[in-house]
Amino acid sequence: MATHALEVRSLTKVIGKKKLVDDVSFSVEKGEIFGLLGPNGAGKTTIIRMIVSLIKRTDGAVIINGTNLDEQYKDAMSEMGAIVENPEFYKYMSGYKNLKHYANMALKEVSDERIKEVVKLVKLEDVMHKKVKTYSLGMRQRLGVAQALLHNPSLLILDEPTNGLDPQGIREFRDYLHTLAGQGMSVLVSSHLLSEMQLMCNRFAILEKGKLIHIASMNETSEIDEAKEVVFEVDNSQEAVDVVKEQIEVSSIKVISDQQFSVHINRAGIGTINRLLISNEIDVFGINRVEATLEDRFFEITNQGVKEEVK
């Protein structure tokens, strides 16, 4: 059996009488970027805290690269690099000293060259020797990424890592994550910025009220022959809608503006409508499929409360 980069088995956290995390199991493959999605308070941070041993597990096991956290704590911890919520630093020390501090704590020696390399990677060379209290939120976030990567971990655990990054920074960060994953690094990332997750993850788990309700892979969201919303741009939208309604049976068709109407239809239907419009001398300027975003899917799943079998 191939070992997973991270395997989480029936993770449970109970505080008082409240189940913050309820029997959550999933695994992250090598080189995979795995997302944890869920609304505020769903338990993402709690799951991550249990994986990195900041809080005790009420129940469940965490296995990293085949190493059980309970049996070989140091070895398992050494495989991880993490950011939990906002990374905090010793503000009275320079960014470099902060990194040096964490480098000293690694099991395998982290050379000064490695520190410089990581600093360069997160583009903090210019402020490396300034005190952290002078850093902006985004700079601290980058330093957070740097401290997580310092010791060459095989598993990166990131809790809302793009919090505080500017759009440019988010884009760079995303590209960088893909590069890392391409090199074989596995990533567990949580966020409620869903559109961003869509661009970032290979697979994702949807959490609600501490329960894992669905694990899906990204390709699943773009299945081809599903009825989707399609927007047609025509010279007279009202006339076009009347023609379509007359000729074929469609469920949700509506006028958006003078020149636009939308209809819920599958691939084959798009061609049919297009031919129909042209034969009725209505000019078609454009046809756009509105991609169902992860966000839609997310709301779809959480709102219905569908509890699908976890695969």
Partner: protein, 314 residues
Amino acid sequence: MISLIRNELMKMFQKKSSWIYLIIILIAVIAGGIISNAVAGEPDEDWKATMKAEVEELQKSADEASEGEKQYIQEQIQQKQQYLDKDVNPDAQSNWHFMNEVVYGVTILVTLLSVIVASASVSSEFADGTIKQLLIRPHQRWAILLSKYISILIYALVLLLTMIVSGYLVGLIAFGNGDFSAKIFEMAMDGQKEAAVGPQFFLKMAYYLPSLLIITAIAFMLSTLFKSQALAVGIGIFVLFVSSTLGGLMVFLAEKYEWAKFVIFPHLDLTVYALQDKILGDVTLPFSLMILTIYYAIFMILTFVFFQKRDISI
């Protein structure tokens, strides 16, 4: 472990406050030197004659005084006579006298500053949120906590050494090098105790160390209990001051109740054993040390067990 301790020391000495505390000790010692030099005035060459005259004066007033006063005056005469008999100058000045009388007093500051540093140690990591990054490293929690504790002890010793070395140097400059084993009398509960000045100072230092150890242990325990640095430091200082008051209270309680002897407070200041052999009636040094050891073990176990189990949800 060594690298963990080195890290803690690095953090400690990157903080300005750690240096400021060292400077405070220096200033206190220097101020002590300047003040006692100013107060001392010219040394009285003929101190024996002066003292004899004083004794005669007292003798005269004793004849006229009432019964109650008479006893008090007699005691004073006796004390002064002792100085004359043993040839000990009560106003003698030297660097060692300065160490024993003035520099020794600065240990209060050493304790206070050690308590401040100890109670900030873990609580500041919570207050700044840095604790979560510290504990996701490949080290057991107890090892990280131990490295913090050891670094505090090292810092406390640095404070103490700063006090002793600067005290010696300031004394040397202000009063010149004196006889290390010059005789002195120290006031104790049961009359005056004869001692040699240098050894007496180091005896006090030796008795001071266990107190420093246990008081910093209490402060360290508080620092793991509270997430707020200000609260931990505040309560640490509060405990420090209340303990001396309670120590005094226990002296009275011990006369009536046996259990008062097992309360930690009267044992916190062992330096009294430099002056007398027994406290609280019949309590001796080994007993005090045993009590302190038991409390120390309890505090340490509580601290480490609590920290090991604690959920870090900052």
